[in-house]
């Protein structure tokens, strides 16, 4: 046990010294453009728009762990909300390994590799009545009809991969603009949707290989 601690301690010291010495937290908020084929889904909803189909809202947090390397997580979301009807949400979760270098003082070139764990939720809010519930409330002296709200959700998750190259311009040392071009590869399977614990068939959307353009504002701490 003592020997293990003797080995572990210097390793931990080096690891935390590296983290502490080079610590820089980069928070990025931005938007992305991609081109998934959601025709089947949009037809089923009877509605589609450029924003709901092609635009991603991005949040990314990375931490500089080495001179040229950052690791972190990201969440890119695509929403489609229909009034009094279905909600659809794609969530692309990104586990980032990113390297970068500075050709000039305020300009950074960055290179990103990241596995992804993605999901899609389709939900609807339902207003319902239940005789037992109404009976119970009426025994307490309440009159009238009572409704309750519930949400029905079907969802699916799948692995993916993304890679991008980009350029970042630092307006200040703590603020930058980031532009990236890349792609995402998704291993989506329409036969792996879940509804109430049961496996069901979902929409045949095409997400296989998608070009991706992202633009964001970066805050450095």
């Amino acid at each position: 046990m003592l020997r293990m601690n003797q080995k572990l301690f210097p390793i931990l010291m080096i690891f935390f010294a590296t983290l502490n010495g080079q610590s820089k937290l980069h928070i990025q908020l931005g938007s992305g453009y991609y081109e998934p084929n959601l025709a089947v889904l949009n037809e089923a909803f009877g509605d589609s728009s450029f924003f709901s189909t092609n635009i991603l809202l991005n949040f990314t947090a990375t931490y500089q762990v080495y001179y040229n390397t950052r690791v972190g997580i990201g969440s890119w979301n695509s929403f489609h909300r229909l009034k009094d009807s279905f909600n659809r949400r794609f969530t692309y979760r990104v586990f980032i390994l990113e390297s970068f270098y500075y050709p000039h003082e305020a300009i950074e070139f960055n290179f990103l590799l990241a596995p992804m764990w993605n999901s899609c939720d389709i939900s609807i809010g339902i207003e319902n009545t239940n005789a037992n519930w109404s009976d119970l409330l009426s025994t307490f002296g309440n009159t009238g009809t009572f409704t309750f709200k519930s949400t029905a959700i079907m969802n699916s998750s799948w692995f993916g991969f993304t890679s991008s190259i980009g350029i970042r311009y630092y307006i200040k040392s703590s603020l930058g603009l980031d532009l990236r071009i890349g792609f995402t590869k998704n291993f989506y399977n329409k036969e792996k949707w879940k509804y109430e614990g049961e496996t069901i068939i979902g929409p045949g959307i095409k997400l296989d290989a998608l070009p991706l353009l992202r633009l964001g504002v970066v805050f450095v701490r």
Partner: protein, 101 residues
């Protein structure tokens, strides 16, 4: 009598927010923790200091220094980071070439 009292100048010296003893206490060499009651005046002083001319100058100097340090540290790839960059570049280029041809 009242006029004389109000006419007197207060016998106090105004301290610049950047020279506040609370900032000195927190950020000086000793780095002693603040009491809970001192947190609000400390925060107000930090904000006032940051937006004062002295604070702006200090922030600009810090900004330039940070940029230079970051540039110096990362103007060239070190160790495995170039491998990651090569992989990412090749993948993106191959992806776009394959979608064209």
């Amino acid at each position: 009598m009242v006029g004389i009292l109000f006419g007197q100048e207060a016998d106090t010296v105004e301290v610049h927010p950047c020279d506040s003893p609370l900032l000195e206490q927190k950020k000086g060499n000793e780095k002693r923790p603040l009491k809970l009651s001192q947190m609000l005046p400390f925060t107000i002083n930090v904000i006032k200091c940051r937006f004062s001319e002295r604070g702006k100058n200090a922030a600009n100097i810090q900004d330039v220094r940070n940029k230079k340090m970051t540039y110096k540290d990362a103007q060239q790839f070190k160790s495995f980071s170039s491998t990651c960059a090569y992989c990412a570049t090749v993948m993106v280029v191959v992806f776009y070439l394959s979608s064209i041809f």
